[in-house]
């Protein structure tokens, strides 16, 4: 597991919001390595810096201090457009609130990342259909998000995240708005993508049940990593 170089590496990353008296230290020096093919669950109390860390891993935010290396590329040195291109080509996102485009069909939502990749219409449509099929939504292609249940919406969001076959899938509380049955379905999908397609998954969760699907659990507290242990799933 430690032979290959890591896919991601955080080196003493700090993130401070505001300055002076009002300064809020969300991350106080986080160092973390994640290998290709890993499945990491991030846990910790509210306000401990989990989302802040995910935003940095997702190249949407920059550390105040420290370094973030994505496949040996120093993300901190990239421009806004370069970071966007990194997201476009290598990352997939799943959000707690689904974040689908409303009044836009499930199929078109899944097609969206392919549009920005410049994939032609026919190929785009086919790939989006396949992705919806893998999340078990065949027949729902032309439904609008408001016509779908929460579980179905999250599966559309998952299809959108994996339709590009990303290297890394980032999910911030993907089951936060779902009941336990729907949550397990989502976790089964994530596990499957991790196992079968080798997609690296980093997921924030508050629930130990969900974290148990992962190969590794990282605990945050007050902007620092408190514990980091393997679950025994990854053998």
């Amino acid at each position: 597991m430690s032979a290959a170089k890591p896919l991601l590496e955080l080196r003493a990353v700090r993130k401070t919001y505001g300055s002076g008296e009002a300064a809020m230290h969300a991350l106080r020096g986080v160092s973390l390595q994640i290998e290709q093919g890993d499945f990491v669950a991030v846990m910790g109390p509210s306000g401990s810096g989990k989302s802040t860390c995910m935003n940095i891993l997702g190249c949407m935010d920059q550390p105040t201090a420290g370094q973030y290396l994505f496949e040996d590329v120093d993300v901190g040195a990239l421009t806004r457009d370069q970071r966007t291109l990194l997201r476009r080509h290598y990352l997939g996102f799943i959000f707690q609130g689904f974040n689908l485009l409303n009044r836009t069909s499930a199929l078109e939502n899944v097609e969206l990342p392919l549009i920005y990749r410049g994939v032609g219409a026919g190929e785009r449509r086919a790939a989006a259909k396949r992705a919806l099929e893998t999340v078990g939504l065949t027949g729902w292609e032309h439904h609008m998000p408001n016509e779908l249940s929460g579980g179905q919406q999250q599966r559309v969001a998952i299809a959108r995240a994996i339709v590009t076959q990303p290297l890394l899938l980032l999910a911030d509380e993907p089951t936060g708005n779902l009941d336990s049955q729907r949550s397990r379905e989502v976790m089964d999908l994530l596990t499957e993508f991790n196992r079968k397609d080798g997609i690296t998954v980093v997921m924030v969760t508050h629930e130990a049940d969900m974290a148990a699907y992962a190969k590794r659990i990282v605990h945050f507290r007050d902007g620092l990593i408190e514990t980091d242990r393997a679950t025994g799933n990854g053998s």
């Binding site: 949407m60 966007t84 291109l85 476009r88 974040n99 689908l100 920005y116």
Partner: protein, 401 residues
């Protein structure tokens, strides 16, 4: 990319149809106004030019009064018949001279009456003004000299007083004068100023002076210069003669005007040009207001769709791609407005041209310009909202509700 952006823009326009139409209204009105005005303006100008050409460019008009400025004049002594006779005698290269005096009067035949204009003039009136006789004849020199009770009427007067019957030999009463109709003028239609050129009764000048006006004044003298004569030379000769006859000393201004038709034509087309210019300015303001409306609605739209923008940015849309999407949307909005404006203007100008009886001239370059202008309005006023969208922070935008 631009294809996808166009599709999205039209979808967005459809989704907020009412709002989009209201937003486009400024552009629609602006574009429609410009095109209607240019179309009618050039139609009117063309008509004036043609009419003046048909009158003959060798016509000069002498009216009383000092020229104070455009359209203004101070009172001055009227002309006399003797002035007209002097012109015939003394100014070379002249074809006809028609001294005139007119008044509005009700023309009565049996139980029919019609308010028209009575003009007293000589037989030259008809040649100078290019009026053909449809039936009967014009008055003779002896009838003119004697002040006979005869008249020539226009087509409108005939229609109102006689219906379909021939008016010849009937008697018309004009105030205290009862006169016999000896001629009917061929119809000429509306003038460029919108007046009916067939609504007139012409009597000998002397008859008019004695029996209707009760004085010997002549209000206006029309002079037609001979073919090939230089109207400017004739104009100067007329001016010199009248100054002498009216005893105007060297330093003093004229108390009369000699205008040739060219000058009148220039004046008229100058007026239409000025009107077109003024109203175009109004149209430009309307386009500006329309542009501000578009900017406003685009800013609202960007705020409403913050979350959508956040999703797009997170998924991998570059700043310039978001920018393009919103710019295309603004341009689609404004140029659709432009197109609607053009279509409306075509319909409206066609209708108005028919109503005002001016020719309808299709101006393709103006339409192309108006369309380009409306699209440009979209780019200019869509820029700020589009930039606002493109510069959003994806994290903040995703958190927005």
């Amino acid at each position: 990319m631009i294809g996808v952006a166009l599709k999205l823009a039209f979808r967005e326009l459809q989704r907020n149809l009412m709002r989009s139409i209201l937003t486009m209204l400024g552009i629609i009105i602006g574009v429609a106004a410009v095109i209607v005005l240019v179309t009618l303006g050039s139609g009117a100008t063309q008509q004036v030019t043609q009419q003046i050409a048909s009158l003959g460019s060798n016509l000069l008009m002498i009216t009383g009064g000092k020229r104070m400025g455009p359209g203004q004049s101070a009172s001055a002594p009227a002309f006399q018949l003797a002035d007209a006779e002097a012109i015939i005698r003394e100014v070379p290269e002249i074809q006809g001279v028609a001294p005139q005096a007119s008044a509005s009067s009700t023309a009565i035949v049996a139980d029919q009456n019609w308010g028209s204009t009575v003009t007293g003039s000589t037989a030259d009136f008809f040649t100078v003004n290019n009026r053909q006789i449809a039936e009967g004849r014009v008055f003779t020199a002896s009838e003119a000299r004697a002040g006979a009770a005869v008249c020539v009427i226009g087509e409108t007067v005939r229609e109102k007083l006689f219906g379909r019957q021939s008016p010849l030999e009937a008697r018309i009463r004009l105030q205290k004068l009862s006169c016999e109709v000896i001629g009917l003028l061929a119809a000429k239609g509306q003038s460029s100023m919108g007046t009916d050129q067939d609504d007139l009764v012409v009597v000998p000048l002397r008859t008019f002076q004695r029996r209707i006006a009760g004085n010997n004044d002549v209000g206006m003298i029309q002079v037609s210069a001979g073919d090939g004569a230089d109207t400017e030379t004739v104009r100067l000769a007329l001016q010199r003669l009248l100054r002498a006859r009216r005893h105007i000393s060297a330093g003093e201004d004229d108390n009369f005007n000699v205008m040739d038709m060219k000058e009148i034509a220039n004046m008229l087309s100058g007026t239409t040009r000025m009107m077109t210019g003024l109203l175009s300015a109004v149209a430009a303001v309307s386009l500006l207001v329309g542009g501000i409306g578009i900017m406003n609605i685009m800013l609202v739209s960007v705020t409403e769709r913050t979350r959508e923008i956040g999703i797009r940015l997170a998924i991998g849309a570059l700043e310039r791609e978001i920018m393009l999407q919103f710019l295309v949307e603004a341009v689609v909005l404004s140029s659709t407005g432009g197109l609607i404006g053009i279509v409306l203007a075509l319909a409206a100008s066609k209708l108005l041209a028919a109503l005002l009886s001016v020719p309808w001239i299709l101006h393709l370059p103006v339409m192309a310009e108006a369309f380009a202008f409306s699209a440009a309005v979209g780019i200019i006023f869509g820029y700020v909202p589009a930039r606002k969208a493109a510069r959003m922070d994806p994290i903040e935008a995703l958190r927005h509700e």
